[in-house]
């Protein structure tokens, strides 16, 4: 929404020594607040490539903008798991040929053969983490390990909840809360999903993704649905909040760097992907964004406090994570209806 305007104006131009011997350009389409500027500078210094970046605030915005004509103006993007498979089925991705990336071997084995990109033909890991919510301990002292905090909140939290403006994650979370499978086509279950969200919306203050951290820091929201690293940053900025690992389940995600079809600077894009597979470089992203990397050998470059960060270390009894699943058209149409009704 308005974020997109913020976003488009957030063009990062790397100047300095590098531009004097420009080795071409690289155009990145990336999430907001997700890569340190120093790392982009470092890439420019090492390669002489001039980097420009535009940002988006949801996987759906990324897809919509690429389909609306931005394909061909960007070299790489950073879609989440389910969006990698959607973008692939939409023909928006370029295949990475074997041998084109010399650091491919650095990828941790559990992230090599993933359901959204078997064999890693189109993507490399960027960061992974979970989507849950943080609760202000100044406002609420009770049990937060239930999604009821979001969907059926206690009185003291009503009207103080910020929810990510992200259909996929909200509906996935609601499905976990109800104990129904994602992308279900069962009518009773979809009906229940609709009713749950209709009822819950009354208790929500706002939908905001790029402000999800700020509303917690400022205290405008007492509960904020949030990505784990973003929640850790909110805590680091002074919010007295605790990240929840709900017993009903945990939404997990992995963002991935993909090579876009018709990339104007394909060679430079591959150089950038190789650069991000270097443990030292991707560790800089992790230190900045407070998520986790999917590359071997990052540990020695990570900040010491990351290892004990509660947002990254689930309790022993935390449930297994579930990725957001891409639904087929029939179910997606119903999801869109439900979402429109929520925001009506």
């Amino acid at each position: 929404m308005l974020k997109k305007i913020l976003v488009v104006s957030a063009i990062v131009l790397t100047l300095g020594a590098s531009s004097s011997f420009a080795q071409g350009k690289l155009s990145i389409y990336h999430w907001f607040e997700y890569i340190p500027q120093e790392l982009l500078n470092k890439f420019s210094e090492e390669t002489g490539i001039e980097v420009t970046m535009d940002t988006y605030d949801s996987n759906e915005t990324l897809l919509a903008n690429l389909k609306a004509g931005k394909l061909g103006s960007f070299d790489v993007a950073v879609p989440g798991d389910y969006m990698v498979s959607i973008m692939n089925s939409e023909g928006l991705l370029d295949e990475i040929q074997p041998g084109e990336l010399s650091n491919m071997g650095n990828i941790q084995s559990q992230w090599m053969d993933v359901s959204f990109d078997p064999g890693r033909k189109y993507s490399i890991p960027y960061q992974w983490g979970s989507t849950s919510f943080s609760v202000s301990r100044d406002v609420f002292g009770g049990d937060i390990r239930t999604m009821g905090i979001i969907f059926d909140p206690p009185d003291e939290l009503k009207g103080k909840i910020n929810v990510l403006d992200s259909q996929g994650e909200v509906i996935a979370m609601a499905s976990l809360y109800l104990g129904i499978p994602q992308c279900t086509s069962d009518r009773d279950q979809l009906q229940a999903l609709d009713e749950l969200l209709q009822g819950a919306k009354e208790n929500w203050a706002s939908f905001n993704s790029d402000g999800a951290k700020d509303v917690l820091v400022s205290g405008d929201a007492a509960v904020g649905m949030i990505w784990n690293g973003f929640g850790a940053k909110a805590r680091a900025e002074g919010a007295n909040i605790e990240y929840s690992y709900p017993r009903e389940g945990l939404v997990v995600w992995m963002d991935n760097v993909v090579l876009l079809k018709d990339a104007p600077n394909r060679e430079n894009a591959l150089k950038f992907m190789d650069f991000l597979l270097e443990p030292e470089n991707i560790a800089a992203v992790t230190n900045y964004a407070r998520y986790s990397a999917g590359v071997e050998g990052v540990d020695e470059f990570l900040d010491a406090d990351l290892k004990s960060q509660p947002e990254s270390v689930p309790p022993a009894d935390a449930p297994a994570g579930s990725f957001v699943e891409p639904c087929d058209e029939e179910v997606q149409v119903v999801y869109n209806q439900i979402w429109t009704r929520v925001k009506q």
């Binding site: 929404m1 919509a64 903008n65 389909k67 009518r187 919306k201 400022s218 009506q344």
Partner: protein, 302 residues
């Protein structure tokens, strides 16, 4: 009258050519985009954004009829979008009224200053608008939020026991719209009042009209065109606004602008429906403007 006539005839042969740039601009920036929009609104939607070039009325059907969550109930009237449109109209109307209440006295004040100083006052009105709309809206958000300076000031002086709770409400949206479009009200009214011949109101005063009657019966009728222009300039952009509802309203309640945006950039990815909603909005505005111009024309004849 003579010189005007001559001038007109002198340019006659050239007229078509002189008008050409305007026609090109209108064609390229108005007719073609709107035509394209109309066309897309009658096409079939493609899953996850885009269009299939097959004729379909599905977009308008979706707007008008509710076929239940699964699309196979018997059709009833679709209230969802009507509610969104009505909400937008109400919000835009309230914002326009606010702008008029504040804008008219402001414009009147400026227009009645010493001519040398008027430019300065106009300059003051426009200063905040040198800054991008988005930045201004974000600033307003910081100002009015529960832990923002306004609430903290009122709370610390004991004027309030609870924060005002303005943020994420319809009132915040109206405030945002009012703030965004106020100069569009002030400037046309100022232009009208400035042109008003104040000897008329002096004459009215000489005939024992009190100040209120003078304002209502002499000044007001003469500046109506400015007021109408101001109202149109505030109302129409407010109707399609999406920055204010998104930032100040917490993106909780769609206005028309956010509904349309969602079709192209959000989850829905339904271009024909977005185009159809835009066409319906366009038609509504067009009808309102036509009614207004007919009213104006009648008034002039009288």
């Amino acid at each position: 009258m003579e010189p005007v006539y001559h001038q007109k005839r002198a340019f006659d042969p050239l007229r078509t050519w002189l008008l050409l740039p305007s026609w090109v601009v209108i064609g390229v920036f108005l007719l073609i985009p709107v035509g394209l929009m109309l066309l897309i609104s009658f096409m079939t939607k493609e899953f996850r954004g885009g269009v299939i070039w097959e004729l379909s009325l599905a977009a308008y059907d979706q707007f008008l009829f509710d076929r239940g969550l699964f699309g196979d109930d018997p059709p009833t009237i679709q209230w969802t979008y009507i509610v969104i449109f009505l909400r937008s109209i109400v919000q835009a109307t309230i914002a326009t009224i606010f702008c008029l209440i504040i804008g008219f006295p402001t414009a009147y004040f400026i227009a009645t200053r010493d001519p040398k100083n008027r430019t300065f006052w106009i300059f003051l009105v426009t200063v905040p608008y040198w800054v991008n709309l988005l930045i201004r809206t974000v600033s307003l958000k910081f100002l009015i939020r529960d832990n923002g300076p306004i609430n903290e000031f009122l709370l610390s002086f004991g004027l309030l026991s609870e924060p005002l709770g303005l943020i994420n409400t319809n009132i915040a949206v109206q405030l945002g719209l009012f703030y965004s479009y106020l100069p569009f009200m002030v400037l046309p009214i100022y232009a009208s009042v400035e042109r008003f011949n104040f000897t008329y109101s002096e004459a009215a005063a000489d005939l024992y009209a009190d100040k209120w009657s003078t304002l209502r019966r002499i000044v007001f009728p003469n500046v109506v065109p400015g007021i109408a222009a101001g109202c149109i300039l505030v109302f129409i952009p407010s109707l399609g606004a999406f920055i204010a509802p998104d930032l100040l309203g917490g993106a909780k309640n769609f206005m028309i602008g956010s509904l349309i945006e969602e079709q192209f950039k959000g989850n829905a990815g339904n271009w024909p429906f977005g185009a159809a909603a835009s066409m319906i909005l366009l038609t509504m505005v067009l009808i309102a403007l036509l009614l207004y111009t007919r009213q104006q024309a009648k008034g002039e004849v009288r």
